[in-house]
Symmetry: C2
C-alpha cells in the first residue's frame, strides 16, 4: 500500500478550500494524501467546526497569545510536527510566514491566491482585479516563499471577468476553480511530480527516483 502524504492545513477564514481538500480525499481524487491536522489562528472562524463527522484533529492557535511572531510560529511548527505533517497547506491563512518557518518544512508549503499571479498579489485581489478592469483573471497555486505571493507557480487556471461582475460574483467564479485546482496541485506533490528548478515548477510525467 502506498504511503500517504500528511497534510497540515492552516487557515484564518471560513475554510472552503480546506473543505474542498477534505472532500477530494473522501472522494478518492486525492487518495495519496491525508489531513494530519487543521489549524486556525481565528477562534471565530467556523472552519474548526465545519466538518462535524470528521475525526481530523483541529487546533486553534491565536497570535495574540504569543509575545512575538517567532514564538507564534514555533507553536505552529510544534503542532504540525506532532501530527507528522509533510506538506503545509495554507487555505486562507492571512499571515506572512517567515523564512525560518518555511525552512522547517524545506519549502513544502503551498498557498492558493485568487488571481493570475504576478498580477494582483496581496489582499483583496478580486477588488484589485475589477478596479484595474482586466477581462481575464483566475487563480494560482504556488509554493510559498518569504515574499508576498511571489513563490514558484505550480498551477494556474484562467476565468473570465464578466461585464457586470461584482467582487462577490467574481470571487465565487474563482473559488469554484480554486476548489478543483488546489486538490490537483496537492495530488501532484504527493505523487512526487513537482520539481522546482530556478523558481520554475516542472510537472514531471513520472516521479524521479
Amino acid at each position: 500500500m502506498p504511503t500517504k502524504t500528511v497534510l497540515g492545513i492552516i487557515l484564518s477564514g471560513r475554510g472552503s478550500n480546506m473543505q474542498a481538500i477534505v472532500d477530494a480525499i473522501s472522494a478518492g481524487r486525492l487518495a495519496n494524501a491525508k489531513v494530519g491536522v487543521i489549524i486556525s489562528d481565528n477562534p471565530n472562524a467556523n472552519a474548526l467546526t465545519r466538518i462535524p463527522a470528521s475525526d481530523i484533529p483541529r487546533v486553534c492557535i491565536e497570535r495574540e497569545n504569543f509575545k512575538d511572531k517567532a514564538s507564534f510560529e514555533k507553536a505552529l511548527i510544534k503542532e504540525l510536527r506532532i501530527h507528522h505533517v509533510e506538506l503545509v497547506v495554507l487555505a486562507g491563512f492571512m499571515r506572512i510566514l517567515s523564512a525560518e518557518f518555511l525552512n522547517e518544512f524545506n519549502g513544502n508549503v503551498m498557498n492558493i491566491h485568487p488571481s493570475l499571479l504576478p498580477a494582483f498579489s496581496g489582499l483583496k485581489a478580486q477588488e484589485q482585479t475589477l478596479n484595474y478592469g482586466v477581462k481575464v483573471s483566475g487563480c494560482t497555486v504556488h509554493f510559498v516563499d518569504d515574499g508576498m505571493d511571489t513563490g514558484p507557480v505550480i498551477l494556474q487556471q484562467a476565468v473570465p471577468v464578466l461585464e457586470n461582475d461584482t467582487v462577490e460574483s467574481l470571487s465565487e467564479r474563482i473559488l469554484h476553480v480554486e476548489h478543483i485546482l488546489y486538490p490537483r496541485a496537492i495530488s501532484l506533490f504527493c505523487e512526487g511530480r513537482l520539481k522546482v528548478v530556478n523558481r520554475k515548477v516542472q510537472i514531471l510525467e513520472k516521479p524521479e527516483k
Copy 2:
C-alpha cells in the same frame, strides 16, 4: 451604406498584426473598417512591402530624421491626418507616444501586448513570462495611455504556457491569438460598442446614440 472607420496602422517590425487586420477586412470579418495608411518608423521592416497587391498608402517616417520626439510625432500626426485616420492602431510599434499625440486622437489609439496585462508589461514580455514561470499567459488589446502598457483593457485571451516552451514557441502560440483578438477589438470600436468609464472598458450590446 454604413461609413467605414479609417484606421492608421503604425509599426516598427514585420507587421504580422497589420497583415491580420488587412486580411480580416478582406475576408469581411472587419467590414466596418478600412486602412487609410500604414506607417513604419523602420526602413528595414519588410512590413511596407508585405502586401504587394494592396493599394493602401505606405509611408516610412524615421525617428532619426527629426531633431526631437515632438517633431517626429508631428510628422506622424500630419500623415495620419492626411489620410483622415480615426483610430490609430499600433502593431508592433516600439516607441512610447506622448500625451499630446494621444490627445490629438482623443485617446482613440489601440495597442496589443503579448501578455495578460498588468503582468509582464514592457519589452520581451514572453521572456519575462517564462522567467517568472507562470502556467497561463495570453494577450491584451488595450487603449493606449502615456504609461507603459497601462491603458484601459479592451479584450484579453488566455493561452497555456507549456512545460518545454521556448520564447519562440510561446510567442507563436500567443501571436495566433493576437491575430484573432486585434481585429475583433477594432471591430467593436468601429461599431461604437466600446465605452471607457473610470479606466474600465465596457463592451456595449448596442452602440449608444
